[in-house]
């Protein structure tokens, strides 16, 4: 029994079958990659997991509880965090304020009327935020406005914002898309470091095979909305079906 159990998910957009009977089981404390050609339904699946889309049928269980029908913020409070393709951060706020917000969410839940005490009065939250910034080596940039950060630092900041909530499952949506080789490698190192330091399950959607094979312990291949194979990276590498899915049209 994995921490995330997806059973029989179907999702249609008009005439298009975006997801057809998708089953997925992600074991706790592993890095699980979901790969597949464009239009395979990876992003749709991710959006189902975070509550942005509601599937036509099927079930999604996380940590023994159903995820379906819950709002994104409720799912987050259950312990699922998401990293976006382009970092979604609070661009107008300072780096420190960026991490303060998830710290408050971690401490107080999805909504708490705080009264009108100053932010600086919440010492525990401050310590939490400082600790995580130190963790990702960004403490010296704490006063910078987030929009002025470099792309790599924005990614770091977003990661820090997710991690401070101590999620059980971290969903990564093409974390290296559009990055230069060096940045990609930095991101891989960052993810490895995170994985080493804490008990966390990661689910990565990725195009870049280099990233996938350096990180993941299990891989699910999606094609045309359906799971094709699920196996270890080594077995996936030479799998004929996978080659066909990626190169199929060219070979015919």
């Amino acid at each position: 029994m994995g921490i995330l159990e997806v059973k029989g998910i179907n999702k249609r957009f008009g005439g298009l079958q975006a997801l057809g009977d998708v089953n997925l089981s992600v074991a706790e404390n592993t890095v699980h990659a979901i790969i597949g050609p464009n239009g395979a339904g990876k992003s749709t699946l991710l959006n189902v997991l975070v509550g942005k889309l509601i599937p036509d049928s099927g079930s999604v269980m996380f940590d023994g509880q159903s995820v379906l029908g819950r709002k994104p913020h409720e799912i987050n409070q259950m312990g699922i965090s998401r990293v976006f393709q382009t970092p979604e951060i609070f661009a107008d706020l300072s780096v420190f304020e960026n991490v303060l917000i998830p710290c408050f969410a971690k401490r107080d839940g999805s909504y708490k009327l705080q009264g009108i005490g100053a932010v600086s009065g919440h010492g525990d939250v401050h310590d939490m935020a400082e600790a995580i910034l130190a963790d990702v080596n960004m403490l010296d940039k704490r006063h910078m406005i987030a929009s002025s950060l470099s792309r790599g630092d924005k990614r770091r900041l977003e990661m820090a914002m997710c991690l401070v909530q101590e999620p059980k499952l971290l969903l990564l949506d093409e974390p290296t898309a559009g990055m230069a080789r060096a940045d990609t490698n930095n991101t891989i190192d960052l993810l490895k470091e995170i994985k080493e330091k804490r008990d966390i399950t990661m689910c990565i959607i990725e195009h870049d095979m280099h990233v996938v094979f350096s990180l993941s312990e299990r891989i699910t291949v999606l094609a045309q909305g359906m799971p094709l194979v699920e196996d270890t990276p080594d077995n996936i590498k030479g799998h004929p079906k996978v080659r066909e899915a990626y190169l199929g049209e060219a070979q015919v």
Binding site: N76, D92, F104, A118, V119, S120, M161
Partner: protein, 402 residues
Amino acid sequence: MLGLNTRDFKLFILVCVLALAAPFLLNPFPTASALGESFNAGYPALMQRFVIFGILVIGFNILFGLTGFLSFGHAAFLGVGSFAAVWMFKLLSYNVVPAIILSVIVAGIFSVVIGYVALRRSGIYFSILTLAFAQMMYSIAFSDLAGKMMGFTLTNGETGLQVYNDDPQILMGPDSPTTPHFFGLEMNSQFTWDIGGWSFVFQNGYYFSALFLIAAFYLSIRIFRSPMGLMLRAIKSNQTRMSYTGINTKPYMLAAFVISGMYAGLAGGLLAAMDPLTGAERMFWTASGEIVVMAILGGVGTLIGPVLGAGIIKYLENIVSKINDSILHQWFAIMPDWLDNVLVTIIHPFIGKGWHLTLGLLFMAVVIFLPGGLVQGGEKIGELFRRKKTDDAADGAKTPAE
């Protein structure tokens, strides 16, 4: 001090001084002089407007400045507050305390309902929804539809609502004042201090309102600096990240909407306390537009901006509407006649009844050239000076919201 950091505390003291010393500050010229007649603004009726609209715009800024949700119907809450207050005068007595309490509560109730509905949409849809609600309430008040439905006079339609002799006023004793008062302290009684050519007027009503302004300003600083203020700014910055951070944005938004609606209700109650009558025109959408103009002019999302914006607009309105051609001719008397005439002809459309034209142009100029309002303009000028003094380029520690 008072739970504020040094910078905010200075700002707070500044507002206190401005509000309390206004009768002096706004009367810089001898009363009888030509300049005094044109530019002095230290008389109670106008000063009351400065502070009451200041309160209104401070509240509006908590919504628009922090969350970026542009309400185009905020005057509706002002109107509701005024009506509630006048009803308290009619039913109980001229004591302003129950009137103001009820106006804040009623505006709060209205903003809970309207906010709950309108906040289901964002962006332009939110603006139009608030506009639609406000126009609807205006229509209802203007033709007293609610009253007609229930079979009595609620808003008294076009005539407007005021206190009549045959109103119940059950708490009125034989000696009670017949104008709004605070436990006997009449709002419109004043004390004039003549010194030299100046005469300074201190009115109870003004100081009563000014205390509310100070309290409102203090509360707004606390909200800006609180975790809730942080959440609201985060909503403005990135709603997607907000919901994926496990935060339910709706209650925060609604809280901001209701707080700002209650500020408007307070302002409406105070308007009625200064002059115990009201009408539906207070809720018309141009009135809502004026609130937006004040906020933008001062600086949206800044602390002091709304106070400045409200003050400047109301001051200019007063000055510009008073100026006429003969005053202009007086000013330009030293110039040759032809130049005098040319200048007066050019300026003529912008003064007197042309005030709204000036307002519109001013507003456009601010939106085009200075989106951050006067506060941002002031900061830019300040930065220029600072850069000359020190070459220290470290500006990292800038606080986003002043």
